[in-house]
Symmetry: C2
Subunit: 491 residues, 2 copies
């Protein structure tokens, strides 16, 4: 342990300042040894993670059950520290038994792959360890966030706007919900919901589960989320929305918000934004679009039509950490209002942090727009990636993901035992795998029960347990060097 050695050395020095048994004027640890440790660990990270990132011959994960993995890893934290050699071995093991989300065959989530530029940006911010609330403490990162938000707003099609990066699409949706509520009735900020009529919001049956979480967290209640029926493609049916708004009004409750989805989690469906916007305008409802997954299509001139009407939204959630590979987490809530609504809604006016008489323009301070105090500079990784690839490079990523989805669909149609659920409009490809034993069976309740009981095996669903409906965002094949082989493995 370097710390102990340092203390010994320091005690021998004549000028040591000792207070309460602690030497104040010595290093708390040997910084040279620390730097060497960082260098050696970086070598391991480069070799074991970065250089193997797109190597399809590597394993996605060396799977171990929880109890076994606990035994393999030395999880216990002890009184005394470990030597650098042991720690480096530990780092190796952590990498070895972790899932490689950059692997071309990582199909578990709505993200995958590696982007070298955003990775560098993240290394920089980890080393600098900033927090973005005031300009004085994060000058570069606040300006970058402002520039990125401005650019994202351009792609949405608003003339002006505001926004904030925050830790996740779920949180973005919460921000929007609270903002809509504040706009509907600003006194709720001070008075709360007690004694008010029941606030009601609308979203589709296929929406992200964060809608329920948000409604519960914000004190609105999950029962006051009215789920609107969707069509066979998973899109919200505008006529059903209209009916439900009227029902809510008749009940004497207070409709305030519609959350449309642009790119649902399972089917990748896009709600018809223009028609929904008409209804929102008619009834004076805030329109939020959860484009956490589908927002990146805005970058593609070819596919941005999926989000037609998004410029009519009051707020948009968009996660560049998904299809654009900016690294978890990189999530923006964007707001059309430019009159300071975000700040008015979220400010707590902490005098010790957000003084109004600083020596620079305090409108650059973002702390009063946020539910967080410390906040990470998530916009930076998107910015550096954007600088590196240009808009055309980002566009190529989106186009590639959707072309891969198209390719996969054609392959599924050709292959025995696979049944396409529906023609995808985005990167989610949903299909059933029907095991040989069921292929001759007639469609009916018994067939579906058996299909659910006998899960398929193979690479495609190695991480999805017994879910028979497999959603494969083609994005996951982004970095695949060869003809995608997921299907042949699954069969």
């Amino acid at each position: 342990m370097e710390v102990g050695v340092c203390k010994q050395e320091m005690l021998q020095k004549k000028n040591a300042v000792l207070v309460d048994g602690v030497i104040l004027n010595g290093p708390i640890m040997d910084s040279k040894a620390g730097e060497k440790f960082v260098e050696e660990a970086c070598k391991i990270i480069m070799e074991e993670v970065v250089q193997k990132a797109d190597d399809v011959t590597e394993k996605v994960c060396e799977w171990q059950a929880p109890e076994t993995l606990k035994q393999i890893l030395d999880l216990e934290m002890r009184d005394t520290g470990e030597c650098h050699q042991k720690l480096l071995q530990l780092c190796q093991d952590v990498i070895r038994y972790s899932v490689k989300t950059s692997h071309p065959r990582f199909f578990n989530q709505l993200y995958a792959g590696i982007d070298y530029y955003s990775l560098v940006a993240r290394f920089i911010t980890e080393a600098l360890n900033p927090s973005v609330y005031t300009y004085e403490v994060s000058p570069v990162f606040l300006l970058v966030e402002e520039a990125v938000i401005k650019k994202m707003i351009e792609f949405i099609g608003w003339e002006e706007g505001d926004g904030i990066f925050n830790p996740g699409g779920s949180v973005s949706n919460m921000y929007a919900m609270n903002l809509a509520r504040y706009k509907f009735c600003p006194e709720i900020k001070e008075k709360g919901l007690s004694g008010l009529p029941r606030l009601v919001m609308f979203t589709s049956e296929e929406c992200h589960y964060s809608m329920k979480k948000a409604a519960s967290f914000l004190g609105i209640g999950t029962e006051n989320v009215y789920f609107i029926r969707t069509d066979e493609r998973g899109k919200m049916i505008p006529e059903e929305l209209e009916k439900q708004v009227q029902r809510a009004r008749k009940e004497g409750s207070a409709p305030f918000l519609v959350c449309a989805t642009a790119g649902t989690t399972v089917l990748g469906a896009f709600d018809p934004l223009d028609k929904i916007a008409d209804i929102c305008e008619k009834h004076g409802l805030w329109l939020h679009v959860d484009a956490s997954w589908g927002g990146s299509a805005l970058i593609s001139r070819k596919h941005c039509r999926l989000l037609r009407g998004i410029h009519r939204a009051d707020s948009v959630a968009w996660n560049p950490h998904k299809m654009l590979l900016a690294g978890i987490q990189c999530c923006a809530l964007l707001v059309k209002d430019n009159s300071g609504l975000l700040k008015k809604c979220y400010s707590a006016e902490a005098a010790y942090l957000f003084q109004q008489d600083k020596f620079y323009d305090v409108s650059y301070d973002t702390g009063d727009k946020s539910i967080q105090c410390s906040r990470r500079p998530d916009a930076f990784k998107f910015w550096l990636m954007w600088k590196a690839l240009g808009t055309t490079g980002l566009e190529e990523r989106v186009n590639r993901a959707l072309a891969l989805a198209r390719y996969l669909v054609e392959e599924i149609k050709k292959r025995e035992g696979f049944q396409l659920l529906l023609e995808p409009e985005f990167a989610n490809v949903c299909f059933w795998y029907i095991p040989p034993s069921l292929r001759e069976m007639e469609d009916g309740p018994e067939f579906w029960q058996k299909l659910h009981q006998n899960g398929p095996t193979g690479a495609l669903n190695m991480f999805s347990g017994s879910v028979k409906l497999i959603c494969l965002p083609a994005l996951n094949l982004l970095l695949s060097y060869e003809k995608p082989q997921g299907l042949s493995e699954g069969s």
Copy 2:
């Protein structure tokens, strides 16, 4: 631009699979060039950030006003990407104009300094880019989180418990508030607050501003936060709490929660937890302790008495990213209940992600405990640091910070023009700097007005604008190699 080059090369290959004008079976970028870029950038990060981290001769920040900095940095995102050379220069500039929070003279926040081990952990997780919601996708990081939470619970003094890492102490406080509300009335999750009596919570006047943010966000309303008077040291007065609880009951409102603070932001005050716990027990109120700042004292056998009674709390917020230097953000909400309250309160039962019939014990999945969907593995950086330093190494950090505070107090007392506000009990040292022109003036309204108008200059408040009450967490001197000189610079 590597992307373009690759495309050209691929198009010449015979086996190219072209869909919608996109070549599917080629790399989206040259990975060798990408890896080289990462290596070169890492070299810059090592030289410019890590190796200079504790160099007191470097600048804390090369300050530029917003408009100037915008001109210096090339913020614009264009259609075409930049070459690696330009990007590396950009990285240099970003580092150059950013605040060095690891600098021994960085005094702006309740954190500072560098820890090499947590930095390595952060590099690993950025490279692996995991999200911690299910065991299948984050096996190592979920086990690590479980182990760290268990250990933190031991230090709180609970026999068992639960917890979750989340993006900030403010969010931890929100979690606790919602949990207390759920415990008080589980139906609120579904029904919301509408029609219910006014829920009231109590916290001290000196609490963190996130209390107000949380009350507003959760629909409780800031007016329903009853601020309890504090004594001259900034501690909540238990008798005042008792009075306010009775007042709330008389008003017909529903008291449900007391948020005590262990380590206030400005004065570093610790509320008397034992006496507050008595009142909570008497009235059946949830006791949450916001120990975001002060929690780390639990690690020190010498200073843990500051939090005496914390084992009686129902929930605790504790940020190892502050005094323990784990890196932003590293924040745990810890809960005494071990009957699944956290899960019951936060679950949305998303069938596509948290299936109950997986091939492993799904109790390891944490998604249903969280308000987030994607979540970062923040426990890991604390874990690797703990493994490296041992509990004694962490304890040494705390003891050193408090010894530095003690030393600073003695220096302030000796030095002309400085006036100690109060004897600190923690690492916050609050004092006034009185400029020479005011030193002969009599105490009174005019004196204070002038003191507020004529701010001091110098290193100590170079980032705190015109705040005259300077709070200097001694923590910031942690890595100082020499006799702390902040004071001589300020005078």
